[in-house]
Symmetry: C2
Subunit: 258 residues, 2 copies
């Protein structure tokens, strides 16, 4: 325990020395797999309290670089679909979070709370990952990472429930002007694979013909000669994202508009 | 000048005492009037350097409250269309801004630069106002406020040009899922008035019939019995926003979707 307190003091020193104050990052990491949409949550040591993964910004580090670094620390993923969606700055963000109580449960001196848990403005990012590829790892304050079904998320610490709600709303809206799927689907995929990704995120089923027509209309998909094999039905075509056109569409945000 | 330096030291003391460090707010204030779209810029004292208006967050103040307060200080407006659009966190945001040089021009000691102009992560908000209603007032560092045509904006300090670009892009996209016009048009307005607002923001002309059909389809407009008088052509109907339905649509973000 002395060792643990010592680690905690080291952490505080590191934070005060190497990171800018008053600003944090929080991540809503959506995990997509086989028709399910989940969110990655962390359980605080010795408690049943869950929160989103977070991070902080080093002095000489760009915000976005800090986001990718922190996310990599939690998920092991480097190339990732990461999107800033909102910055949260209410004073009472911490209202449902008793620092003393939690630090006590963590076996840490209360008077250190203010050192490390002052008021932060937090920049919210959401990520979308194939959760089969993720190796989640907790941080200093937490001892468990778990994927939770989007519709079974428990009451979270801080203002994290509202972060999840707004992140999902933004992600769903984003489908209307940005392409999605690259790095989330295998290199070669079928139209039903892509449609399932969209339906999973939107939480509703889509008309097959309209979806295919729409998708092909963007000119970001390249149809391969080969077909998927081993299926019971007529083998569907395999597609691949035209990476260049995909990146262009991502930059232009021209998809689905008008 | 001694007086001025003294004011500056007071300002620094106030900043260090009453505001959270490392976080600032920047505003892209779009001014709409008679078919023109302009942006409000501030000129730094004794220089030809222009920047966006900004603000900071008090310790016991919500981010959004800080945004409204700061905007009111610069424009005199209280009820305003204000929207957070992105948070900017690059380390090199200040690269095209020589603090020493500017402070020298301001007649202020260079060694104070670091006190007040360290690295900030800045939360970007855009506002849309009827610029005939605005009474702009500069802050401590600036001596002139001017409305600039959207297509004639000079090279700005910091990363403010990219802020303007992204703000405009976001505002235009927002037209596709949120209503706009309330508080920007007179209480009673004609369909051409509303269309001109949209065309001004989008920077392109729209088909009259489709626009009217679309707008009426949202059910947020109430057509009045009276018509506009004094026009040369057939007097057009006057409309009014159904405030309740308007606010609902604003909350649901259902407009134009699907």
């Amino acid at each position: 325990m002395a060792e643990y307190k010592n680690q905690f003091q080291q952490l505080i020193l590191d934070l005060k020395t190497n990171y800018i104050p008053s600003v944090s990052i929080d991540f809503v990491i959506f995990g997509f797999h086989d028709g399910q949409l989940k969110v990655l949550l962390l359980r605080w040591k010795g408690t049943d309290e869950w929160s989103l993964p977070g991070g902080r910004i080093r002095h000489e580090e760009d915000l976005q670089a800090a986001a990718y670094r922190s996310l990599n620390e939690r998920t092991g993923l480097s190339e990732i679909f990461l999107q800033q969606f909102h910055t949260f700055g209410d004073v009472v963000r911490y209202i449902n979070f008793s620092q003393q109580e939690t630090l006590a449960k963590l076996g840490l001196p209360e008077d250190l709370a203010s050192e490390v848990m002052g008021r932060d403005v937090s920049v919210g990012y959401y990520a979308l990952v194939e959760f089969a590829n993720v190796i989640p790892s907790p941080d200093f304050f937490t001892e468990e990472c778990r994927w939770w079904d989007i519709d079974q998320i428990p009451p979270l610490l801080f203002d994290h429930n509202s972060m999840v709600t707004l992140a999902l709303k933004t992600l769903r809206r984003q489908l209307s002007y940005q392409p999605i799927g690259y790095k989330l689907l295998p290199d070669k995929f079928t139209m039903p694979d892509l449609q399932q990704l969209y339906e999973t995120i939107l939480g509703q089923s889509l008309d097959r013909r309209n979806f295919q027509k729409r998708m092909l209309g963007y000119g970001i998909l390249e149809r391969l000669e080969e077909r998927k094999t081993g299926g019971a039905h007529k083998a569907p075509y395999l597609y691949r994202f035209d990476k260049e056109k995909y990146q262009q569409a991502l930059a232009d945000e021209t998809l689905f508009v008008g």
